[in-house]
Symmetry: C2
């Protein structure tokens, strides 16, 4: 044993070496390391002592090769770093996912993939078997990424409904239609009649759904329903532009529902610059209930979605799939046979209107 001489061993100890040092077989050492109960207490203790003394850590590649599991899942965000770090809800989504994963032994790794190179690299990363499953967020229109990832045979759970149902891709959605409708109905109840909206991008599902909710609430009411829609891209600047446009077209607008808090902030600034008071002259409601809503002047009434819960639910769905899966990669995600996994029933989380000073 070269271990007993002065110099430290160059390479990490293997299970074989641990077993030899403890005077047992490789199989028994493996059982101890993996916590099997069919080992005598004495043996277990002596193996554990050796593991500790030698600093043994199992080799993930070797284990993964036979178990076909990586014991980790990826959270893939199809966005640029700067975008991710400016959208406040990512942090909460991620925290929810972390919480959901805490009980399992799974490691969560976050991967940003925006450029074509990053996308193909992360695709390879998943197909390679580096992770057992994928949580996915922030997808524009009909991004091919979710399906391509699902083609790896690994479960994929997306944050937010995809444009069209995708085989092999489950999702957790937020009730965007209901949230926008509730907010609009609240404005109506407050006596507002010329209610405008700053819609989100119409190539993103939340953008479309929130506009749908707004229109649904207005249908059949006495409010003026047309011409009061401007569009932004969820950013503050786009909110300013949209608000200017709305004021130019309809100076007598008395309420605005923005599809994001940041756009609402932009609207606030433009309204103030135009000499209007919020909420006296114009009521403003945002969407997301982010920190900026609380800190705005006046504090922003906003539609709250529990992003942490969404993260947790995504993990719950994913872990369910993982436990159901027979081995690792389940095959080409095709297979009309009995093995075809039934899609999980879509999960739609409720929203809540948080009333503050702005409406």
């Amino acid at each position: 044993m070269s271990r007993s001489d002065g110099r430290p061993e160059r390479s990490r100890p293997t299970l074989e070496e641990v077993a030899a040092a403890a005077g047992v077989s490789r199989g028994t050492a493996s059982r101890v390391v993996n916590g099997s109960h069919r080992v005598s207490d004495a043996t277990r203790a002596s193996v554990q002592e050796v593991v500790h003394r030698l600093g043994y850590v199992p080799n993930a590649a070797a284990r993964s090769l036979v178990t076909r599991r990586a014991e980790s899942v990826a959270f893939i965000v199809a966005e640029t770093e700067s975008r991710v770090f400016h959208e406040p809800f990512f942090g909460r989504l991620l925290r929810g996912a972390s919480q959901g994963l805490a009980a399992t032994g799974l490691q969560l790794v976050l991967v940003m993939a925006w450029t074509a190179g990053e996308r193909s690299r992360v695709e390879r990363y998943v197909h390679n078997g580096h992770v057992d499953g994928v949580l996915l967020s922030s997808l524009h229109g009909d991004d091919p990424l979710p399906e391509r990832l699902a083609a790896s045979g690994r479960p994929v759970v997306q944050a937010g409904r995809p444009w069209t149902p995708l085989r092999g891709v489950d999702y957790v959605d937020s009730d965007n239609v209901g949230g926008a409708r509730t907010a609009t109905e609240y404005l109506l109840r407050q006596g507002r009649r010329r209610i405008a909206t700053i819609a989100g991008p119409q190539d993103m599902v939340p953008g479309v759904d929130r506009l749908t909710g707004y229109r649904a609430a207005l249908r059949g009411s006495r409010a003026v329903p047309s011409g009061l829609v401007a569009q932004g891209d969820f950013s503050r600047e786009s909110g300013e532009r949209a608000m200017e446009e709305l004021l130019a077209r309809n100076p007598d607008v008395d309420a605005v529902l923005a599809a994001s808090d940041l756009m609402a902030l932009g609207a606030l600034r433009v309204l103030r610059a135009s000499g209007r008071r919020v909420p006296e002259d114009v009521a403003v409601i945002g969407y997301d209930d982010s920190e900026v809503a609380r800190n705005a002047e006046p504090a922003l009434t906003s539609v709250c979605q529990d992003m942490e819960q969404m993260g947790r639910e995504m993990v719950r769905l994913l872990v369910g799939r993982l436990e159901a899966a027979p081995g690792g990669a389940g095959g080409q995600a095709g297979g009309d046979g009995a093995g075809a996994p039934a899609p999980s029933p879509p999960l739609v989380l409720p929203t809540e209107l948080v009333v503050r000073a702005s409406a």
Copy 2:
């Protein structure tokens, strides 16, 4: 071959199957997949065709088992999700790292580790061999994590200087002392004489270094050097509290250097509330040159550190280590022998004062 019948193969094809289908040996197929040049054009083409047709993707675990490489590096952030997503510079640091890694084949994965459970899990993740190296950020005081990660034998590069030199841990620092000194000297040149500072936490290196720079500039000048130091934790709220404290102690202060933009923002608010004009009555300088500095009212003069460059330099250091490494895990990171890696010369990136309206 069951591949030729109707149903899709359940499991992914192996290199052996690819080789058989192409009529070559496993070794040759491997050479094609890995881009070796010692393969005839005809053979290469036929293997590539089979790879494409069968959708072959190499098994990362099997490859990693023999190469002792995972072809990926982790960016570990010892912070909570919410903290990470509020500090504006993380995004830029990460983007720099992404850029630096783009040319290599390495996948970047981000891991947040704050709770004890998360920390021990990520430690295991690194020791396991899931990644070839580690980029590390946001460490309070003398966190044991960097050293524990370095004990895996994998290279570790930290963002920012550690309290004390750590064996096996390289770092890239920003010239915090110089940045704070330059900003303070600028205030002196503008004729300010009662220059206060809102220092960062003194259990973090940047907090200490920026205070050092401030003091260095003031030493030997005619400005009043003492009693004008308050402390915050880099957050906006702490900036407000510190500014109130400063005003209470020294109502005649005519300039403030804050150790972060967010704290400067808090100071701005308190100064305005106290009836003081910025910059006429009190000049304010922030630190980080983040987006909020540009958007502040008045726009904030701030010390700019190029975080993207820092990310790129961290990757450069890490990749250098990776290429120097003989195999994968190099041993216990100890070893007084010839193999002990010399620490890289500390890299300290310059800072720049960006002058805007507030000072």
